[in-house]
C-alpha cells in the first residue's frame, strides 16, 4: 500500500507542476503590463515602469517563471500586487469559507444522492427510476449560477424563507450561519446530486447483477444484509471516486454560486485576482485548488482500497 501512495504522491507533484506552468503560461502568453493594469490608464509612464521594476514584472520571462516555481516549492507566494499584503493572509479567509460551504453541500448531497441511486437501481426501468435518472440528468447539466438564481428567486424572494445574500455579519451563530449558507449549499447540492446519484445507480446495478450477489441471495441472507454487505460495499467505489473529484471542483469551480449569493470564497478570490492580473494571488489560489483536488482524489483511492480487497490487490502490484 505504501509504495502505491508514494507513487501517487509523486504523480500528484508532477501534475501540480504542470498545473502551475499552465497558469503561468496562460497569464503570460500575451505581453501584459501589470503596472499599467494596477495603476490604471492615466498613470504616468515613469510610475508604471517603477512599479513594474519593484514587482519584478519587467524581468525576463524565464526569471519570472523561475520565481513562480520557487514559490511552488517553498509555498511562499509573497505579497499580492493589489493589496500589498501577504498572499497567504488574504487567502486564509476565503479558503476557510469555501471549505465550510463545500462541506455543507457535501453533507446535504451525499446521503440523499447515494440513497436515491441505490433506490433507482433496485427499481430499474420503472417510473421512479426514470424520474430519478432524468432529475439527475437535468440537475447536473444546469450551470450552478442558474440553479442558484432560480432557487434565490423562489426561496429567497417569493417565499422569503432564506436570505438571498450569503455573506453573514461576523459573530453570527453557527445555526444562523447554516441558514445564511443554505441556498448556496443547496444550489451546489442540486448540481452534484445528479453526478453522484447516476454513478451510484450504475455501480449498484453492476453489483446487483454480479455473481456474488446472487450467491448471497441464494444462501438465504436477508435483503438488507445483501444490500449492505455485498451491494453497497462494492458499489461505493466508483461513487467515492466521483465524490472526490467533485470536492476539488466544489472548492474552486463554484465561482458562479459564490457570485450569485455574494459569498467571498476561493472562487471569488480567483475571479478578482484574475481580473486584476494579481499573479501571486492567482497562482497561489489556483495551486490550492489543485492541491485540494489531488488530496481528495488520493484519499478517495485509499478509502476505496480499504473498502475493497480487490482494489487493494491491484494497487499493491
Amino acid at each position: 500500500m505504501l509504495p502505491y501512495i508514494l507513487r501517487r504522491l509523486v504523480l500528484a507533484l508532477v501534475t501540480l507542476w504542470l498545473l502551475a506552468t499552465i497558469v503561468f503560461l496562460v497569464a503570460n502568453v500575451l505581453p501584459n503590463d501589470v503596472g499599467r493594469t494596477i495603476l490604471g490608464p492615466f498613470a504616468p509612464q515613469e510610475t508604471v515602469d517603477a512599479l513594474n521594476a519593484e514587482l519584478g514584472t519587467d524581468d525576463p520571462m524565464l526569471a519570472q517563471y523561475g520565481r513562480q516555481m520557487k514559490a511552488l516549492v517553498t509555498f511562499d507566494y509573497g505579497d499580492s500586487y493589489q493589496s500589498k499584503r501577504p498572499v497567504w493572509g488574504i487567502l486564509s479567509g476565503p479558503l476557510w469559507r469555501s471549505a465550510k460551504l463545500a462541506f455543507y453541500a457535501l453533507v446535504m448531497t451525499v446521503p440523499i444522492a447515494v440513497a436515491a441511486g441505490m433506490f433507482a437501481a433496485r427499481k430499474r426501468d420503472r417510473l421512479s427510476d426514470r424520474t430519478i435518472v432524468l432529475a439527475g440528468l437535468a440537475s447536473s447539466s444546469i450551470p450552478e449560477f442558474v440553479t442558484g438564481s432560480i432557487l434565490a428567486v423562489v426561496f429567497g424572494v417569493a417565499f422569503g424563507w432564506f436570505p438571498v445574500l450569503a455573506s453573514f455579519p461576523p459573530g453570527t451563530s453557527v445555526v444562523s450561519q447554516l441558514r445564511f449558507l443554505f441556498l448556496p449549499a443547496l444550489s451546489m447540492s442540486v448540481v452534484y446530486f445528479g453526478y453522484i446519484a447516476r454513478m451510484m445507480r450504475a455501480s449498484t446495478i453492476r453489483a446487483l447483477e454480479a455473481d456474488y450477489t446472487r450467491t448471497a441471495v441464494m444462501k438465504g441472507l436477508s435483503q438488507s444484509q445483501v444490500m449492505r454487505t455485498h451491494v453497497l460495499r462494492n458499489a461505493m467505489g466508483p461513487t467515492i471516486s466521483v465524490i472526490s473529484v467533485q470536492v476539488g471542483y466544489l472548492f474552486g469551480g463554484i465561482i458562479g454560486v459564490e457570485k450569485v449569493f455574494n459569498y467571498n470564497g476561493l472562487g471569488q478570490t480567483v475571479l478578482i485576482a484574475a481580473k486584476a492580473k494579481d499573479l501571486p494571488l492567482l497562482q497561489a489560489s489556483v495551486v490550492i485548488i489543485g492541491i485540494v483536488y489531488m488530496l481528495s482524489t488520493l484519499l478517495a483511492d485509499i478509502v476505496i482500497a480499504w473498502l475493497n480487497p480487490r482494489a487493494r490487490l491491484e494497487l499493491g502490484s
Binding site: E144, V146, V153, V157
Partner: protein
C-alpha cells in the same frame, strides 16, 4: 487461405473469399460494410425517433433555433431598444417585464439564444475534431507520446473548466480583431468581437476531455483482430487509424459531441455571467443575469429568472438528446 467465408450479420448473403481475387474481395467486403452501416444508421434513427426524451429535447432545441434565426422578426419588441419604463413588472405589454434600462426582457431572452447557439456548437465541433485526432494518436501509439499527453490532460482536468476559461479570457481579452477577414466573418454572423475568443477558449478547454474519451475507445479497439489483420496487410498507421479504427468509434464520438454541446452551453453561460465571456450589449442569457442578479434582494426577480429558465431549458434539451443517442448506441 482455405474455405474462408465472411458472413455479415443481418443479411443472408455470404461472400466467398476463396473464389474472388484479392482486389475484388476487398471491394465487396467494403461495399457490404458500407451498406450495413447505412442500414444500421437508419435503424438507429428509427429507434431514436421513438424516444420521448429525444422528441422533447429536439422540440425545445428547435424552438430556440427558430428564435436564434428569426429573432429580429418574431420578438414583440426590439431587444436593443431601451425606450420603455425601466424595471417594469411582468404583465400587460411586457410579459416578462423590462430590464434596468427599459428593454423588453422577453425579446432579449428570445434574441439571447443566438450567441449561445452559435458559440456552443462551433466550439464543441472544434474540440471534438482536435480531441479525436489527439485521442487517436494517444490510444494508437501509446508509449511515451501517450504518457506525456496524458499527464498534460490530467493537469488540465485538475482545474475546473470554468476556472481555466476565466484565466484565458482575462488574458486574451476580447478586443476587435485586426484581421480584415475575421472582422468580415463576424459581421456576416452578426457577432460581437468577444465571441471568437470564447469559441477558441472553450474549444481548447474541451479538447483534452474529448481526447481522453476517444483514447479509451481506441484502446478498446486497437488489439482487435481487424486491426491486427490490417497491420499484417501492411497498411500504414495513418490508414489504420483513420479508415479502420475511426469508423468503429463513431458512436462514442457522436455521443461525446452532443454531450460537449451541452457543456459548452454550460461553460459559455457561466463565463458570460462572470463577466469575461460575451460582452454587452449582446442579449446573452448569462449576461442578462449578470446585470440583474444583484437586484434580486430588492424583489426584482424577472430579469434574472427568465434568462435562467431559458438556459435551464436549453441545457436540459441538449442533454435529453445526448442521453437518447447514447441509449440507442448502447443497445
Amino acid at each position: 487461405m482455405d474455405e474462408e467465408l465472411v458472413s455479415t450479420p443481418g443479411s443472408d448473403q455470404v461472400v466467398d473469399l476463396s473464389r474472388s481475387g484479392p482486389v475484388t474481395m476487398q471491394m465487396t467486403v467494403l461495399q457490404q460494410a458500407a451498406v450495413e452501416r447505412k442500414q444500421a444508421r437508419r435503424e438507429r434513427w428509427q429507434l431514436l425517433r421513438r424516444r420521448p426524451g429525444f422528441l422533447i429535447g429536439a422540440g425545445i432545441s428547435l424552438f430556440w433555433v427558430v428564435c436564434a434565426v428569426l429573432y429580429d422578426r418574431i420578438t414583440p419588441f426590439d431587444p436593443f431598444d431601451d425606450l420603455s419604463t425601466p424595471l417594469a413588472r411582468p404583465g400587460g405589454e411586457h410579459w416578462f417585464g423590462t430590464d434596468q434600462i427599459g428593454r423588453d426582457v422577453l425579446s432579449r431572452v428570445m434574441a439571447g439564444s443566438r450567441d449561445v447557439l452559435v458559440i456552443a456548437p462551433i466550439s464543441a465541433v472544434i474540440s471534438v475534431v482536435t480531441g479525436t485526432l489527439l485521442g487517436l494518436v494517444m490510444g494508437y501509439y501509446r508509449g511515451l507520446v501517450d504518457d506525456v499527453l496524458s499527464r498534460i490532460v490530467e493537469a488540465f482536468l485538475a482545474l475546473p473548466v470554468v476556472l481555466v476559461g476565466l484565466l484565458a479570457l482575462v488574458t486574451f481579452g476580447s478586443s476587435e480583431p485586426e484581421n480584415g477577414f475575421l472582422r468580415w466573418t463576424l459581421k456576416i454572423l452578426t457577432l460581437g468581437a468577444s465571441e471568437p475568443v470564447v469559441v477558441i477558449v472553450v474549444a481548447v478547454l474541451f479538447t483534452p476531455i474529448v481526447a481522453r474519451t476517444v483514447r479509451a475507445a481506441v484502446m478498446a479497439e486497437r488489439d482487435l483482430d481487424y486491426v491486427t489483420s490490417a497491420r499484417l496487410r501492411g497498411e500504414t498507421n495513418l490508414f489504420i487509424m483513420t479508415r479502420e479504427i475511426l469508423p468503429n468509434i463513431v458512436g462514442p464520438i457522436v455521443v461525446e459531441l452532443t454531450v460537449r454541446i451541452g457543456y459548452a452551453i454550460f461553460t459559455v453561460a457561466t463565463l458570460s455571467f462572470l463577466g469575461v465571456g460575451v460582452q454587452p450589449p449582446s442579449p446573452d442569457w448569462g449576461l442578462i443575469i449578470s446585470d440583474h442578479y444583484s437586484l434580486m434582494n430588492g424583489g426584482i426577480w424577472w430579469p434574472t429568472l427568465f434568462p435562467a429558465l431559458a438556459i435551464a431549458s436549453l441545457v436540459i434539451a441538449v442533454n435529453l438528446i445526448a442521453d437518447s443517442i447514447q441509449a440507442v448506441n448502447d443497445r
